[in-house]
Symmetry: C2
Subunit: 244 residues, 2 copies
Amino acid sequence: MTIADGDSATLHRPDPETARDRVAAAVAAENLVTVFGRCTVEYEGRAASTLGPGDRLVVLKPDGTALVHTDEGQKPVNWQPPGCTHEASVADGEFRILSRRASPEERLVVAFERVEQLSTFDVTDRNDLALQGTEEDLRQRVLDDPDLVEAGFRPLATERETPAGAVDIYGKDRDGATVVVELKRKRVGPDAAGQLSRYVEALDRELHADAEIRGFLVAPSVTERARELLAEKGLEFVSLGPPE
Amino acid sequence: MTIADGDSATLHRPDPETARDRVAAAVAAENLVTVFGRCTVEYEGRAASTLGPGDRLVVLKPDGTALVHTDEGQKPVNWQPPGCTHEASVADGEFRILSRRASPEERLVVAFERVEQLSTFDVTDRNDLALQGTEEDLRQRVLDDPDLVEAGFRPLATERETPAGAVDIYGKDRDGATVVVELKRKRVGPDAAGQLSRYVEALDRELHADAEIRGFLVAPSVTERARELLAEKGLEFVSLGPPE
DNA sequence: CGATGGATATCGCAC
DNA sequence: GTGCGATGTCCATCG
């Protein structure tokens, strides 16, 4: 059974050969494909996994993405990233989807005992997502009002390169001492303190050995472990949360 | 138009009221819901975003997950994690889905200009994913053959607690010196070297100051920056990739 | 291509 | 609930 028009088409309980032909055509036409049914899944690549029979929703995107969703969780239980090639086939009387990635070599096989529904959609989406509350927003706030870090702070560069990586904000304090600012949009753990410490140490080596270098971690809050690590390394913390 | 049986039901271009009623019933029945159509999306919570009109696939799971997928990318363009409540409504003549999270407060609103297809599925899946090639597998390999780290290495504990966190493997070398092993299943960067360094320093403080403590990073490979950091801290690296 | 670090990360576990 | 670390993390950016 089929419902179709220019934008979508749906098969209800297609036989394996029909499912194969429809998916093959949809992949060739760069349509979005959804398949719901009872299936097993095997993956082999960076890791390997097997998944016994169950009802799942499989999504194939025109960009080469494959997703296998169960009834639980935000993350797909199995997947392939964009850029993969999708093939449909029938083997042992079962409809199968094979998704392959070239580098690194990865294979995903979904074998359907039963296909409950198979849909294809002609999809185009040119609207971009506008996101607020990011680290970039936080950086802009600090650049607009450097006193938020410390009275007299003067930013001189963003993304300044060091041997340990790029520093979020680089500048001078009121006394001319070098300042390194690491921004985090949410509560931070020991990793952020370690990251800031590496930047300070890298600049310590790069600049004159007698130059004072101060490291600031700017975030809404820190964990206790991170606070200890900052104190130990002589780094400073500035609490700055999202606006409002 | 409707196709239905015990396991699934599909509406093709339903009007807003019909879509609302069907989604409300499916959410109450803890069914999986997919909606494809032209919609706008607004999100507000940990961050905030708006997304203009476009064709997207929306998935509502019985565990309270919501996903909004475009034609590109593995990750949903917008989403809500498990545990949210989903509501269907009609406002300004449009079918809308509202997904709410209590803590932290987060809202996702999908407003459909047009619903191309709406499907509901009665989904059961009690099979768990069996994954190989994880860090746990690597740990088992090292415990089975500690000489992989170094001839004479004797593991004494896993997940041994330190003030800086739990050490993957703790033990002694052939001369009785304390050994800390950090395992990584893939190529590592500076963060892993920093992590191992924190463990070694924490044990250095906890144990006698004169006790020698050796830190091993076991991973398939390291980046150049991580290698430098390891050398600087006097830590050792053992190359151990996935089997075959 | 690899390296680096962010993310509404998600997820699981320990406390 | 928070804290912490793993993830087939994904993803953009940069060299």
